[in-house]
Symmetry: C2
Subunit: 81 residues, 2 copies
Amino acid sequence: MNLAAVFGKEIRRVRQEAGLSQEELAYRAGIHRTYISQLERGLKAPSLEVVFRICAALGQEPHELIKRVNQKLELPPTSHD
Amino acid sequence: MNLAAVFGKEIRRVRQEAGLSQEELAYRAGIHRTYISQLERGLKAPSLEVVFRICAALGQEPHELIKRVNQKLELPPTSHD
């Protein structure tokens, strides 16, 4: 998976764990819901600004999310990828 | 300072500590030198992809750079800002 896809999966996971809908995350982050959906599906690559906004909305430290994304990028692909 | 400005100052600092010119960093990261210059001056906001590429070129862990950027963003402005 590329960076956008890994990032998208990670924010979807954190959002769902937080019990938020895409609409709620979008509202909190000041980003359009359609864009959240595109990010989660890896169809759009985020700017650093958007990463920080989404992290703030999810109560995540940006560097912790980035660390997990980088770890998942570096993993060898599984047969499901 | 905004995010782009803090990020730009941080990569300039790390680049200079590594003894690299903007040209050398640009070549290593596969980014145009003009864009490196604009990033360092906070004139352009980076994508997450560019953050990862520049970190790889500088031998930095992305999450460590992001942590420092976030810490500097959260500091109260000094009289020099």
